[in-house]
């Protein structure tokens, strides 16, 4: 809501929720996929998210994170990606053999690099 926006209108322009595929880049995705090709195999069943140890305590959704990474939407992941405990349960449940643990690890790494303009 923008009711309290401090201007003479009492509101501001809402930020678009749109994923504009052409306005973002896929640097993080490419970084992850190059190092962990199994990342491509995710078909978003959500098994990882269901079994996730960290996910029992806080919003951490690997399934959705994978989607965001693929679309180049990094902003929502910056904090979420650090919540993983790397326990590896997701590895055992993934029906497509995605090396999920490495995906999170690489994503966190890539985002840090992105922020340092190293990607």
């Amino acid at each position: 809501m923008n009711g309290s926006a401090g201007n003479k209108f009492g509101f501001t322009v809402n930020r678009s929720r749109l994923i504009d595929y052409d306005a973002s880049d896929r640097l993080v995705r490419d970084y992850v996929t190059l190092r962990e090709p199994s990342f491509r195999l995710c078909f978003a069943c959500g098994g990882c998210t269901a079994t996730c140890t960290a996910g029992q305590h806080a919003p951490f959704n690997l399934r959705r994170m994978n989607t965001f990474i693929r679309r180049g939407e990094i902003e929502p992941l910056r904090e979420e990606v650090t919540r993983c405990m790397l326990c590896g349960k997701c590895l055992l449940v993934c029906p497509r053999g995605v090396n999920t643990r490495n995906v999170v690890s690489l994503a966190a790494e890539a985002i840090k690099k992105l922020d340092r303009n190293e990607l």
Binding site: M1, N7, F9, G10, F11, V13, N14, R15, S16
Partner: protein
């Protein structure tokens, strides 16, 4: 772009528009913000096209804004609309001409409801009779006022004093047409050209020499979205929808926007100022804003009406440049003078003034 494809779609969505004898119902927003437009429409109908168009001063709002704003129940609005039908019946008119797209959607929705659920019609008749003692016949046809201009677009073209053409280069003007959502998105078969590729304004623009811009967000809502606009805190949604459209049309360098819905015309005009204030961005060539016209004003200009008499000076984005491009001489100094020379109030914060 394959024009044949569009023509095929347009051919599929044609509707019967009566030739004459209309009962005119006005629009709350149009008569408030573009009072000259409705007057222009009546003038064109009566003076230029020689049609019989009647309006009853007793007709009221359709309460569509209240209905979409969740404060007017469906039974109520049905009864209000039934009262308008009763006025038409009493005056002996069977063809309704509607100024507002919201009303047009309401009328269509109600008639469709009555068709599929006849008991609601009976209930409405009963409600209307109990409340006012009036009875009504169902209208034979429902037309949006833009449908009627569309029907007579070629006749207007024959009488044209100006065209949608840059008089200096001879090139057609680039026009963004915007169709109100409730015109055809709810009931595509009631709109000329359907919902995806509406033809109602395209037909006018092309008949009058302009080029239509088919930009990616063409179908997108202007941002009115009753609940979004009516609650001040929600207006950011409304504004962001308009911005999406402006950003999408901007690369085409449009000469002006024309809308068939009063709300759309109002928003796409006024939000340009708001966006300038909030975002610091002014759209349009040389960042002067994109003039936003009603279709009545567009038709009026073609027929040589005085822009100041039509009230075009009360748009937030001024259209002096456009008029010049079309070769219309209108003295800027006379914008805010009445015919007898006394001063009209001059709005602040005009764009492209």
């Amino acid at each position: 772009m394959k024009l044949e494809g569009k023509k095929r779609v347009w051919a599929e969505y044609q509707k019967e528009i009566p030739d004459d004898h209309f009962f005119y119902v006005r629009s709350c927003i149009r008569q408030t913000f573009f009072a000259g437009s409705e007057q222009t429409f009546l003038k064109i109908m009566r003076d230029d096209l020689g049609k019989d168009i009647y309006e009853d001063p007793r007709h009221t709002t359709c309460t569509g804004i209240g209905y979409h704003g969740d404060v007017v129940p469906f039974e109520t609005i049905q009864t209000v609309v039934a009262r308008h039908f009763a006025l038409a019946t009493e005056a002996g008119y069977k063809n309704i001409a509607i100024s507002c797209v919201t009303s047009f959607g309401i009328y269509t929705e109600i008639l469709e409801t009555w068709k599929h659920f006849p008991e609601t019609l009976e209930k409405t008749r009963e409600n209307l009779f109990r409340a006012t003692g009036r009875v009504f016949d169902l209208p034979v046809s429902i037309s949006h006022a833009s449908d009627i201009i569309y029907k007579f677009r070629d006749e207007i073209a024959r009488k044209a004093k100006y065209n949608l053409v840059d008089v200096r280069s001879g090139k057609p003007l680039k026009v963004v047409e915007h169709i109100g959502c409730h015109y055809a998105k709810m009931f595509p078969k009631h709109g000329i050209g359907g919902a995806e590729f509406p033809h109602v304004l395209v037909g006018m623009i092309e008949s009058w020499g302009g080029d239509v811009i088919d930009y990616p967000e063409r179908r997108h809502c202007c941002g009115f979205g009753f609940r979004q606009y009516l609650v001040q805190a929600n207006r950011g949604y409304s504004l962001s929808a308009s911005r999406k459209k402006f950003e999408s049309m901007e690369p085409y360098r449009p000469d002006f926007i024309v809308a068939n819905c009063p709300g759309c015309a109002m928003f796409m005009d006024r939000w340009q100022y708001t966006l300038k204030e909030l975002d610091g961005i002014t759209y349009g060539s040389n960042e002067t804003g994109i003039p936003t016209l009603t279709y009545e004003e567009m038709a009026g200009l073609i027929l040589g009406y005085d822009p100041w008499e039509m009230g075009m000076q009360y748009h937030n984005v001024q259209s002096l440049g456009l008029l010049k491009k079309m070769g219309i001489t209108a003295d800027p100094a006379k914008r805010f003078l009445t015919k007898d020379g006394s001063r009209l109030p001059e709005p602040a914060n005009l764009l492209n003034s």
